[in-house]
Amino acid sequence: MGMTMTQKILAAHAGLETVVPGQLIEADLDIVLGNDVTTPVAINVFEEIGKQNVFDKSKVVIVPDHFSPNKDIQSATQCRRCRTFAAEKGIENYFELGEMGIEHALLPEKGLVTAGDLVIGADSHTCTYGALGAFSTGVGSTDMAAAMAGGKCWFKVPSAMLFRLHGKLNTYVSGKDLILHIIGKIGVDGALYKSMEFGGDGVASLTMDDRFTIANMAIEAGAKNGIFPVDEKTLEYIGAHSKKPYRVFEADADAVYDEVFDIDLSTIEQTVAFPHLPENTRTVEGLPEIKIDQVVIGSCTNGRIQDLRQAAEILKGRRVKKGVRLIVFPATQAIYLQAINEGLIQTFVEAGAAVSTPTCGPCLGGHMGILAAGERAVATTNRNFVGRMGHPESEVYLASPYVAAASAVLGRIAGTKEVLK
């Protein structure tokens, strides 16, 4: 029986010729990741395990991004715990404020993850690196601790769903619209325990930033991972960012999939997910008037340079509607700097936006943009659960940077057509 791309990566890391869905395997890890929320818990467990050192100082990555810059005394204490642990154990990839970014934008940018890698992270959006042709998945703090100690993790080999993409997205339609469309179609548990594998001639037309956005939200369909084949664009990205050796895995021609979906990219429209689940999707065309209080552009889903360029394209020469608060947070320091050099930050400030240093901040309702009861936000983030961005009675609508920017200008949920006409 042929193997999927995911199954091949898992087999290679478990030292096996073949694996089959449902098989339990123990695999070697290339990267173990944690943030300032999950790492302190993992450190407690690591201490309980009683090992002196981490398995490999170059393979553990710790990024304090959730409540940093420190939101309050308790978060400062949590971040310090990470910092001290990293220093004591000699962890090479600890990224302090000023050199950091949101973890899932940062790791590919720093070249820490490459094609064919097997990565676990104590953060559910670790699945982002599937864009690079790596297997990556979220785990909890206990798994992170055990992995830091031994460099291994057990997995149940997943079956897969194949999404065959064809053609090209229309202008002003992005990877975010595509993944929201898919989640709307299969539901938030549509890919539970499975891999979402992408393929087809349409992949070539997607930028790397689009692929990161799409793989990032695989977890929102319940998937274990999302993964893209490696092509010229992937290799170009890897070449520009990483010196690590990489390995290209391809699904077998006779790989078995639970389901195959054919998607014509030209049919995808600007899409918004309504509260309180990412599966509640509607296309922007013909929506009733939904007034908004806040717009958030950023996060590990849509805080990359392409996202900022797209938002700036809409905001250039326009102003944020009076009474609406627009917050833009570039995902990493490098992206922030590039946005400054390209004049994007000037565009944002002139439009009336608040621009923040890289942080998870508002995305998880942590700080820097919390919603009050009854308030509504359009966000380029990935979750719109009850209370995700603040008060349990607030609402979050998920959208692309284009749609978020257009909505900021009009003060209500709107597509780019309405602004550009």
């Binding site: 929320v37 999950t38 302190p40 818990v41 407690n44 467990v45 309980e48 395990i49 009683g50 959730h66 409540f67 939101k71 309050d72 308790q74 978060s75 949590q78 992270g121 104590a122 953060d123 559910s124 670790t126 979220g138 785990v139 909890g140 703090s141 206990t142 798994d143 601790a145 055990a146 938030v188 548990d189 539970l192 325990y193 319940g222 274990k224 689940l277 998880l364 309702g365 942590g366 919390i370 979750r383 659960f385 009850v386 209370g387 995700r388 603040g390 349990p392």
Partner: protein, 164 residues
């Protein structure tokens, strides 16, 4: 291994943000986390839950973030077991790793109502809804899982193994 208690019933897609909202994640103290467990969908949960009670959910229980704080908050509030139609995979892994028993049973989950008395026998693989007088079969916990749950989590189980 057996538990018994009163059911707190919730719907589909109970996510980790409502189990423990991110605004409380600046701590990892189980007691502090338990003090805010489920508060965004059920303000009465914390005051009403008693040691041994059960949470019953629908499909995709525990979806969302990888925060281990979610099963920790549930466990620290005294809940003895979570039954659901299905679980999100990271939550499932985390629950087992910290020693919180969880059982997938669409029949038992759908039939249970808030306030029912339910018992679960993990070794025999049996859920009994005493209020409704119904019994449901589930696969018994495999041995490795029983060991982890009995020891109170993966790490404690590993240590117990080493010290033998």
């Amino acid at each position: 291994m057996k538990v018994k208690g009163t059911v707190f019933k919730y719907g589909d897609n109970v996510d980790t943000d409502v189990i423990i909202p991110a605004r409380y994640l600046n701590t990892s103290d189980p007691k502090e986390l338990a003090a805010h467990c489920m508060e965004d969908i059920d303000t009465g949960f914390v005051s009403k839950v008693k040691t041994g009670d059960l949470i019953v959910g629908g499909k995709n229980f525990g979806c969302g973030s990888s925060r281990e704080h979610a099963p920790i908050a549930i466990q620290a509030s005294g809940v003895s077991c979570v039954i659901a139609e299905s679980f999100a995979r990271i939550f499932y892994r985390n629950a087992v790793n910290i020693g919180l028993p969880i059982v997938e049973s669409p029949e038992a989950a759908r039939a249970a109502a808030a306030g029912d008395t339910v018992s679960v026998d993990f070794t025999a693989g049996e859920i009994v809804n005493e209020t409704k007088g119904e019994t449901y079969r589930v696969p018994p916990f495999p041995e490795f899982m029983t060991k982890i749950i009995a020891a109170g989590g993966l790490v404690k189980a590993l240590r117990a193994e080493e010290n033998r």
